[in-house]
Subunit: 79 residues, 2 copies
């Protein structure tokens, strides 16, 4: 889970390669910055409110983010 | 700017069609839910910490989100 330390990366490990889109309450994307030299993505789940770091390099994660935004894609994204 | 009312959409207007990627501190994506029937995207800016609603239908916004995640894209995203 992300640590709340100021001025450091929020995610210590690489992050999860998968997330069930239906259980997503919020997605936070932190571009690289002075406090963390790589992009970070944190998902917050609906029920548990649990926060999970996602792996920005994971094709699945990239696909979910893309579908999330292009919600009118024909396949009908689950969100 | 997003209103913090519980149980309602955070963004009242359609949102901005553009955002300068370099000034982005955080991007929050809220899938449609019981409290708001459409997807919302809120950008937080670096310096002012100001929050701005973005228009999820804007091609430019979709492109920024996609480039943000696919930071290894050849054009070299600005982030």
């Amino acid at each position: 889970a992300p640590n709340a330390g100021r001025g450091r990366c929020l995610c210590t490990a690489k992050g999860s390669n998968f997330l069930p889109p239906k259980s997503l309450a919020k997605l936070e994307v932190f571009p690289k910055s002075s406090s963390c030299e790589h992009l970070e993505i944190i998902a917050t789940f609906k029920d548990s409110k649990q926060q999970v770091c996602l792996n920005p390099d994971s094709k699945w994660v990239q696909k979910i983010v893309k579908n999330l935004i292009k919600r009118r894609s024909k396949r009908g994204s689950a969100l």
